[in-house]
Every structure is written in C-alpha cells, then in structure tokens.
C-alpha cells in the first residue's frame, strides 16, 4: 500500500513555544492511526494542521503525493469530528448532514437520499427533524459522525470525539467507529489521550510526548515492546526497575538489579554492557508463588498489600531495594500482607529500556 498522508519534518511554534518538533509520519490509505499522548504533546496541533486550521511553521504535509500546505481547509476534503460535536445549532439534524453535500453543489434529490442513508448508518433516522439541542450527547456525536462521513471525504479526522461521553457509551461508540472504518475502508486519524481507546481502535498508534513521536507501531508493539520509558509508563501500568547491563546476547540482555538479582530480558533498541537501564515489567505478567519454581527470572519479595478489584487481584510487593506490583487473575489464591513470595516472569515478559 502506498503512503497516503505524509508529514515531512513538521515543526510548529506558538510564539517561542515549540509544540511540534521536526516530526515525520506516514499514514497509509485505509489505515486507522491514533495519535496518543498527554495534553500539550502536540497531537491535536498536528491534526489541526492536517485539517488546515493551523499552518506548520516549517515542513510539508503531503496528501496522495501532493503538498497541501497552501490548500485552504474548505478544499481539503477532510471530514472533521470534534469533541464538542460542533453541530450547527440553528439547523436540524437533516440540514446539518446535508450541509457538506450542498457545499458540493449536489442536487436536492441526491442530497435527500444520501442524508437518509447516512442517518440510517448511525441509527438516527427517526431524529432527522430535531435540533441538535434536543439530542443526547451520544446522539449528537453520531450526527457529527454522519455529517463528517456523508460526503465521502478522503480522510476522516477525529479530535477526542468520545471524550465527552460516559464510559459505557464511549465503549459502544469505539466499536461502532471501528466497524465503520472496516466497512467503508476509511482512512482515519484519531486523536486521544486515552490509551485503552487507542489500543482498542487503531491499526497503529503513534505515542506523542513533547512535540515528538516516541514510538509508532501496532497496539501490540507499543504495549509489549515499548521503545522508551515514556511509552512504557504512558501505555498501561508498568513496574520500572533500574539496573546495569551485565551481558548482551542477541535480542536479550542480562541485567543486574541493585538487590543483586540477575534478570534476563528482551531488549528494545540497543544497549551496551555496563550501561544503566530500566527494566519494564508489566504487572499482569508477574506470577507469585511461595516456592522458588523453575522460571528464568525470580525476585524474592514480601507482600505489603493486596487489593481485590473484581476482575483481578492487585498485590503490592516490596523487595530489598524496590517496590513491585503484580496483577493476578481472579482464580489466583490470596496472599496476606507479610507473606514471603517469589515473583517470577519470563524473559519475554519484561523489557530493557535505555533511559
């Protein structure tokens, strides 16, 4: 597949403040890419530049091989969905959805037909004559979605579109949007600060921090193989333990922890012998038992607290030099505080990250 959208060395300053720094990113046709990061990381600014609402200070944005920096928003042919819905309050639902079609000079009969189809797609056919203010948040967001899709734009841009919805509705909409993406073969750029939303919906996730992309990859890659400390901490929960590399063997490294324990771990990037590094150990990959067992990596710890959380048991551990958190499946036995346990995990379940 050819690259459809290309950000080329994009830099954006607001006054003296650099919000996007020398950023390169390619997006393929039909791909669902999430821009994930904390607020102020530059993800929304990048989306606004793609939509044409903002101009990059330097660098090029290419769409289908052509630079679009000088193309005004209304000629870019991109559907934008905002967190605040941004429906036209003085128009009915039907008029809202007809708007982009009217802008393209499409005849009335076809407009009516396509509005009807778009409303059917988001299951709101009965509400065509309502005003936006008469709809619930979820319904308004469906109208905004229908309006952004009805003119078959080349790209659909979404700026935290589900941020204002409550949890259940949000999860439903996530699945609905994912389904629409697959059925219609849309190219979607989706901005969110919610990591589980990004993992649920995307083909690829670009993790933003301070105006740069820290890592881009499939949800599995960014979760299981975090490239940087920031990615490891931002996506999901993790244990970060400092250590020194003792030996490197191909894709694995042996790390000595301050407590003296030796851990064999998979490596992100390149590390050298003697280097100080972080080990990222996902809490749900840690097994606990009172016997030492056969696992490759074992840490001697003591349980300090244990919290039942419905779908899992969260156990806080303390070893001689650092704390550790383990999430155990609900079938696991309970460990009362004070129990001495062995925390075990395989080399593939942890990751060496250069600081």
């Amino acid at each position: 597949m050819a690259e459809f959208i290309r950000f080329e060395r994009i830099t954006k300053f607001y006054g003296p403040l650099c919000v996007v720094e020398n950023l390169d990113l390619g997006i393929e046709k039909g791909e669902f890419v999430s821009l994930l990061g904390p607020s102020g990381s530059g993800k929304t600014t990048l989306l606004m530049m793609l939509a044409g609402f903002e101009q990059p200070t330097s660098g090029n944005i290419l769409l289908d091989g052509t630079a679009i920096n000088a193309v005004p928003t209304h000629k870019r042919d991109m559907g934008v969905v905002f967190q605040s819905y941004a429906l036209f309050p003085h128009m009915s639902v039907g008029e809202n959805i007809a708007f982009p079609l009217q802008m393209r000079g499409i005849g009335k009969a076809e407009v009516d037909e396509r509005v009807k189809r778009a409303l059917g797609m988001v299951q709101l056919s009965a509400l065509v004559d309502r005003r936006p203010s008469q709809l619930s948040g979820g319904q308004q967001q469906r109208v905004a979605l229908a309006r952004a899709l009805v003119f078959e734009p080349r790209v659909v841009l979404m700026d935290e579109p589900l941020g204002a919805l409550d949890k259940n509705l949000r999860e439903q909409m996530q699945l609905d949007i994912r389904d629409l993406h697959r059925r219609l073969g849309l190219t979607i750029v989706f901005v969110t600060h919610d990591q589980s939303e990004a993992l649920t919906m995307s083909d690829r996730v670009a993790v933003f921090n301070k105006g740069r992309i820290e890592q881009i990859g499939t949800p599995r890659q960014v979760y299981d193989e975090p490239a940087t400390r920031f990615v490891a901490e931002f996506i999901g929960e993790t244990n970060l333990v400092e250590g020194v590399v003792e030996a490197v063997q191909g894709q694995e490294a042996t790390v000595r922890l301050p407590s003296g324990a030796q851990i064999v771990s998979a490596v992100s990037g390149t590390v050298a012998r003697g280097q100080s590094v972080f080990l990222s150990i996902r809490p749900e990959r840690v097994d606990l038992s009172e016997a030492r067992g056969e696992a490759r990596n074992v840490l001697e710890t003591e349980v300090t607290d244990s919290v039942y959380q419905g779908d899992h048991l969260r156990v806080q551990l303390q070893n001689a030099t650092h704390p550790l958190i383990a999430k155990l499946g609900r079938r696991s036995r309970e460990f009362p505080p004070g129990t001495k346990v062995f925390a075990a995990f395989s080399a593939g379940d942890c990751r060496v990250i250069a600081p």
């Binding site: 609402f53 429906l87 036209f88 309050p89 982009p100 005003r131 309006r147 841009l157």
Partner: protein
C-alpha cells in the same frame, strides 16, 4: 418579618422614584386644557391630533424616523463589522481597540457635540440629514458592538471550523453559520441603535439645522417656547416606542436562549 416589610417598602419606594416622572407626564397627554398643568379639566385626544397634523410636530416625527432608520442601518453595519474584527485574536491592541469602540458611551455628549460640529462643518455636512445620521451613529455604534460581541462570544469557534472542513468557503461560513447565529445580537443591537437615535438631543442641538429637527429636539425647544400638552403626547409616543423596542429585545434574547 419586619425585615421583609422593610424590604418590600424600600423596593416600592425605589420603583416609585424611578417611574414618578412618567406618572406625572403621561396623563397630561390626554388633557383637553391648553397648558401643561394639573388638574385635568376633561379627557381629550386633541394633542395627539396636534402632534400628527401640526406641521412642526409632524415634520419632527418624520425627521426622527428618517434619521433613526439611517442611524440604525449605518450603526448596525459598522458595529457588526467592528465586532467581527475584534474577534480576531491576532489583532494588535485588541483590548485598546475594543475600549475605543465603546468610548462614545462614556464621553460627555457635549464634548462629542462640539467636536462633531467642528468636524462636520469642515466637510460641509452641518444642517444636513447625513450629518445628523453620522453624529447619531457615533453614539449608537457602541450599543451594537456590545450586543453583537456578546452574541459572537456565544458561538463555538469549532462550529465555524467544522463548516470550513465540510467545504464551506469563508464567505459561506459567514453567511450560513456566523451571521444566523449572531442574528439575535445584531437585531437587538439595531433596536438599541434606533432607540439611541430617537432619544438623542445634545448632538442634535449641535449639528442639526432647522430642517432636521427631531422629535426629541422639538420637545426640548417647545417646552421653552410654549408649554403645550403636545409635549406630553409626544412623550407618550416615546414610551410606547420604548416598550415595543424593549419587547423586541427581550424576544430576540429568548430566541437566542432557545437555540442554545
């Protein structure tokens, strides 16, 4: 309980204080006497007749309507354009500019009047309708700016961005989105501009000639020459006009509220 009574008494007295002049003048509009004093010998509509058929008064009413309409159009267009311009965050000295637009509201009318007289004389516009309309527009624009700025502030900028992204050129965004959403503010601004023009005496004294005597100006001069109850009838007209104007403003406000 005594507190409640005290509050009620105070409120009643305050309201009385505010409307007492109206209560004093309005009944006199319907007197049959030829002088503007109590007691009223019998009720009559003769002063309204005088108002509509005596040349000076009829002329004044027509002048007020001409000048009021001109002022409303000019002030609404200028004020709306100013409010739209002041929305732009990149504009230099935005705060200062906004203050400048509102300045005529607080500058003493006498000062404005003298300045206006000198300026308009320079352009040969004293004693002309255009001159009076320009003078009235200066004091009417701030009301439009305040009203339209308020309406524009209520518009979510992303609604306009969304319209752009859906294929609307900037002029179309203005025509289809911004203007309709700001319309209640524009309308109430226009109404306030008309009311300002209707009520304006000081500037009119400075710049208008005998041919541009407005109703307010006519009342002012006739109360010195002969205290005829026609003044009270004219005052009655003003009150009616003001109530109508007030209703229009309230109505457009509630229209705006319903939309949100």
């Amino acid at each position: 309980m005594p507190m409640k009574i005290a509050k009620a008494t105070f409120a009643t007295l305050t309201i009385l204080f505010l409307v007492a002049p109206l209560i004093a003048i309005l009944p006199l509009a319907f007197t049959s006497s030829v002088i503007l004093t109590y007691p009223i010998p019998s009720w009559s509509l003769r002063w309204f007749e005088e108002l509509f058929f005596a040349d000076a008064w009829r002329r004044a009413i027509v002048n007020s309507l001409i000048i009021g309409t001109g002022t409303t159009l000019l002030a609404t267009i200028l004020g709306t354009a100013a409010s739209l311009g002041l929305r732009n965050r990149l504009i230099l000295f935005r705060g200062t500019m906004r203050t400048l637009f509102l300045l005529p509201m607080v500058v003493p009318a006498v000062v404005l009047g003298v300045g206006m007289q000198v300026l308009l004389a320079g352009f040969g516009l004293t004693n002309s309708y255009l001159g009076v309309i320009i003078a009235h527009t200066v004091v009417a624009v701030p009301f439009v700016v305040v009203s339209v700025t308020g309406a524009l502030a209520g518009i979510d900028e992303r609604v306009e961005l969304a319209a752009q992204s859906l294929g609307a050129a900037p002029i179309t965004v203005f025509r289809r989105i911004t203007l309709p959403l700001a319309m209640p503010g524009v309308l109430s601004g226009a109404v306030l501009a008309f009311a300002t023009s209707l009520d304006e005496v000081v500037l009119t004294l400075f710049v208008a000639g005998p041919n541009q005597r407005t109703l307010a100006r006519q009342m002012f001069s006739s109360i010195r020459e002969n205290i005829s109850p026609a003044i009270a009838a004219a005052a009655f007209l003003f009150i009616v006009a003001t109530v109508v104007i007030g209703l229009v403003v309230v109505l457009s406000r509630s229209m705006l509220a319903k939309r949100r």
